[in-house]
């Protein structure tokens, strides 16, 4: 197990290193010249040359990369040429917003998804089961951004219950919740749509195991059979699904933040693409990728701790 963990961690570090090179080169491969994007329109060649020099853009690419990584390791992510703000300060203000949004979404998804999945498994082939299956299928098929627009239409434009967009910090909890609930619900629908069928089939699977028959045969109450035996085993499957879905959650955050104008890292990514804000874009994509790599690593490790067979198969590949 120790070697397995070390190997997995090493692999993730290598992936992260290559990812940083990909991000660095990818940002430079964006069409348009960085110096032109940074300066005002019609800047003279001298001004452009000066910008290139002050941002180190005149150096060879490998040197630029090493400069960037060197600064990265000391916590210096550079400055946004467009706004003059420090990249790390902007990130520090944006990341908590996205974490809150994703956290509320995850909470909503678990709060609704797990009970619905359990109930669908226990009431198999009833109207409720069909309804939840159809609902999950709809949740998977309907794109996030349309749900977002429909929510705005219904709750903001027609009913005037909630603000259509924007964000209020946690210092005003009520207004904060009013602004965060719609985008979080949109994200939660996508998550729950995956969670419900997984929960349902995992529970049905465990209910058909021999130890459940044994538990029933020895006269255990239905609630104890489900609560103590079946549920515990099916939840491990759900943990893995949630881990794997966090990546999809990050994807959903990008477009959801854009629609609801939530100032998190998803919107920051798109804004940096539109504004050709290279230092910002580099940092935000690398941070997202690192978060994703770490989540995947943890999911991998948790999964293999729960299911030892993976370790042996993993060692063979």
């Amino acid at each position: 197990m120790k070697w397995f963990v070390l190997r997995k961690v090493g692999q993730s570090m290598l992936t992260l290193l290559i990812a940083s090179i990909v991000v660095f080169l990818g940002v430079r491969a964006l069409p348009g010249d960085a110096a032109t994007a940074m300066s005002s329109e019609g800047a003279s060649p001298e001004v452009l040359a000066q910008i290139r020099q002050s941002y180190g853009l005149d150096k060879p690419l490998p040197v630029q990369y090493l400069d960037w990584v060197g600064h990265l390791l000391t916590g210096d992510l550079g400055k946004s040429p467009q706004t003059g703000l420090s990249v790390s300060a902007v990130l520090a203000s944006r990341i908590p917003v996205t974490l809150e949004l994703a956290g509320v979404a995850l909470l909503l998804a678990l709060l609704f998804g797990i009970p619905i999945g359990i109930f669908a498994a226990l009431k198999r082939n009833t109207a409720f089961d069909y309804l939840s299956t159809t609902g999950s299928m709809l949740g998977l098929s309907v794109p996030h951004f349309w749900f977002g627009i429909l929510f705005i239409l219904l709750f903001a434009v027609k009913l005037h219950w909630l603000p259509a967009s924007g964000f209020v910090p946690l210092t005003d909890p009520v207004a904060n919740l009013q602004h965060i609930i719609m985008p979080a619900a949109v994200l939660a629908i996508g998550l729950a749509a995956v969670l419900i069928p997984q929960m349902r089939s995992a529970l049905i699977q465990s209910l058909s195991e021999d130890y459940i028959r044994t538990a029933r045969a020895k006269g255990l109450a239905q609630s104890a059979v489900i609560g103590k035996h079946a549920l515990r085993n099916s939840l491990t499957a759900v943990v893995t699904v949630v881990g794997l879905q966090l990546g999809a959650l990050i994807s959903g955050v990008v477009i959801t933040e854009q629609i609801f104008v939530v100032p998190g890292i998803g919107k920051l990514t798109l804004d940096s693409v539109y504004n050709r804000d290279y230092p910002m874009l580099q940092a935000v994509v690398l941070i997202t990728a690192s978060a994703y790599i770490v989540v995947n690593l943890i999911t991998d490790l948790v999964y293999s701790a729960l299911n030892p067979r993976v370790r042996i198969q993993g060692a063979a590949t």
Binding site: Q11, L14, T15, L16, I18, A19, V22, G26, A29, L30, P31, M137, L138, L140, S141, V142, P143, F145, W146, I149, L150, I152, L153, V157, K158, A164, S201, Q205, G247, A248, I250, S251, G252, V254, I255, Q258, I259, T269, L270, V273, V285, T288, A289, Y292, I293, N296, T317
Partner: protein, 292 residues
């Protein structure tokens, strides 16, 4: 004699009939198939079916409500016929879904076959690249690639294809690793068959099931992805009609013309729902154990 011939089926025909029944037993699968067929037909014959010129603007007929004479689904902010634009936009969505998946499948399967069969440094390079591509969330990878390639429908398709490749590589490779130890593959090796014949002739045909299942998931994913990129201004460019651009244009008129936001989204949702229901049925047919 002839009647006996007609009722007695060859084993292969009987198998085929069994599979067909397993598919048609699910009403959602049949519904999905009908939906997919409709969308594909509209995509092919769109320009013929569209009741009006999708790009003809008319400034005295802006935001005509649906079910009006001459405009069944109303008109948009420039007085263009919404139904015609939806019909013509179908092709861009279908193209994106099918082409992106096809490109990803061809490249991913080939790389997965080579990596899994030859192992060694090739395997290491392919798998590390896959890891790196998978370390970016799908939306960020697609948005990043689309902005590098430049905003257009074909570049959006390419960006989606590249984003879909890693999963095809992983699935193929995992299958190949299991199959290459099988007796029949070893027999082919011993009898002197070349690597290409073994990979494409013997191994590939036995790992088609998970690949078809993956493709059935990838197509609706790519349809949504293409709509998302167009919505963000990184796919099909206005004034060309596409579901994503229509949805993005509608955002500015939510209080004036709600139906204008509802319709293109409904088209995207119906298309992906059809593909998902069809794919579910396909999974049931190909891999009945998965749903027990």
């Amino acid at each position: 004699m002839t009647t006996a011939m007609a009722t007695e089926l060859t084993p292969r025909a009987a198998q085929r009939r069994r599979l067909r029944r397993r598919f048609t037993r699910r009403p959602t699968a049949v519904l999905g198939l009908v939906g997919v067929a409709c969308f594909v037909l509209v995509a092919i014959f769109g320009p013929v079916l569209s009741p009006a010129d999708p790009d003809a603007t008319s400034y005295d007929q802006i935001f005509v409500s649906p079910f009006s004479a001459g405009h069944l689904l109303g008109t948009d902010d420039l007085g263009r016929d919404v139904l015609s634009r939806l019909i013509v936009g179908t092709r861009a969505s279908m193209e994106a879904g099918v082409l992106a998946t096809l490109i990803a499948a061809v490249i991913g399967v080939a790389l997965g076959l080579f990596a899994g069969y030859y192992r060694g440094w090739l395997d290491t390079v392919v798998m590390r690249t896959t890891d790196v591509l998978l370390s970016f969330p799908f939306a960020i990878l697609a948005v990043g690639l689309a902005s590098i390639l430049g905003p257009s429908l074909s570049n959006a398709i390419l960006a989606l294809a590249i984003s879909l490749i890693p999963t095809f590589i992983r699935i193929t490779r995992a299958e190949v690793l299991g199959l290459r130890e099988q007796d029949y593959v070893q027999a082919a090796v011993v009898s002197g068959a070349s690597g290409g014949v073994i990979m494409f002739g013997h191994i590939l045909r036995n790992c088609l099931t998970p690949l078809v299942v993956q493709a059935s998931v990838a197509i609706p994913g790519a349809i949504i992805g293409a709509a998302m990129l167009s919505f963000l201004g990184l796919g099909e460019q206005p004034p060309t009609a596409s579901w994503g651009t229509m949805l993005s244009e509608s955002q500015n008129y939510l209080s004036q013309a709600a139906w204008f936001a509802v319709l293109p989204g409904l088209a995207i949702a119906l298309a992906t729902l059809s593909f998902n229901m069809f794919g579910d049925g396909l999974r049931e047919v190909l891999d009945p154990r998965g749903d027990q």
